[in-house]
Symmetry: C2
Subunit: 164 residues, 2 copies
């Protein structure tokens, strides 16, 4: 059973290696594979409205996500989230649990919709999961992601209106 | 005849009232209608890769645009631009001239595509213009823009691949 709670600064030593490993692969997020710890801390913890961790019963961090408005004021009712699951914890439903959690958080924060701006089309597991959780592919951006192994690949814009 | 050149700090006293008037209307950009001068200077001049002004032969500023990468590293080959034409200079082809100029600049900066993230669907003149200039509507974001007069309206994602 995974439990999800707000990120605390004392989680960072566990969160950073998970993020670094994910971004180094260059197959799911646009962050540079060479990003510094400070850059990623800024993007994942400081810039967002809130950051969360998903933990095992023994407290081990298995995943993390952030939530933030996708645009300023007149677009700020739509939120954006990013989710990362530790490589050693894949396939245990943690991404799904975090996405469900984030939707509830989004509603309680007053967001009316959630948008993913750059879902890498070759990340089929993610695309399938977001669809299962109610997201729709509203657009395809041709060759908008430079995949570290595959080169330029399409990226999807996915969107879900949230219950009021 | 409009001429387009890089923004200089001495242009700001002419640029800011144009931006302020535009954002106050709350019908085209997500920036808060109450944005401060410092906030908009940051967003329009400091954060982007480059900012430009379109000038009349006598030097009067008639419009302005910025260009920046739309995402970090692995999405940074796609650029994003924002264009504003002074209310008193509408209908003279200045937006078209700036968009053509920005595409050439984008190519010379090494960008491979241009993306508009939040084109307000009710801004029909803009949508028509971007289509005429080769952009495609790749997605519709339901009720993603809170129009100051009309309430929640759809926004479009528009995209154009640029020649190498």
């Amino acid at each position: 059973m995974v439990s999800i709670r707000r990120f605390r600064e004392s989680d960072w030593p566990a969160v950073w290696p998970i993020l670094r490993t994910t971004f180094e692969a260059g197959d799911t997020y646009a962050f540079s594979p060479d990003s510094t710890e400070a850059e990623i801390h800024r993007a994942w913890v400081e810039a967002p409205s809130a950051t969360y961790v998903a933990c095992a019963p023994d407290g081990q961090v298995l995943g993390t996500y952030f939530i933030k408005p996708n645009h300023p004021a007149l677009g700020a009712h739509v939120c954006n989230c990013g989710y990362v699951v530790a490589p050693f914890a894949q396939g245990r439903g943690i991404a799904a649990a975090m996405c469900e959690h984030s939707q509830a958080e989004a509603v309680s924060m007053g967001f009316r919709a959630m948008q993913f701006n750059l879902v890498v089309a070759t990340n089929e597991r993610a695309v399938r999961l977001w669809k299962r959780l109610g997201f729709t592919v509203v657009g395809t951006l041709p060759r908008a992601f430079r995949h570290l192994r595959l080169g330029y690949v399409d990226a999807l814009v996915m969107f879900k209106e949230l219950p009021a």
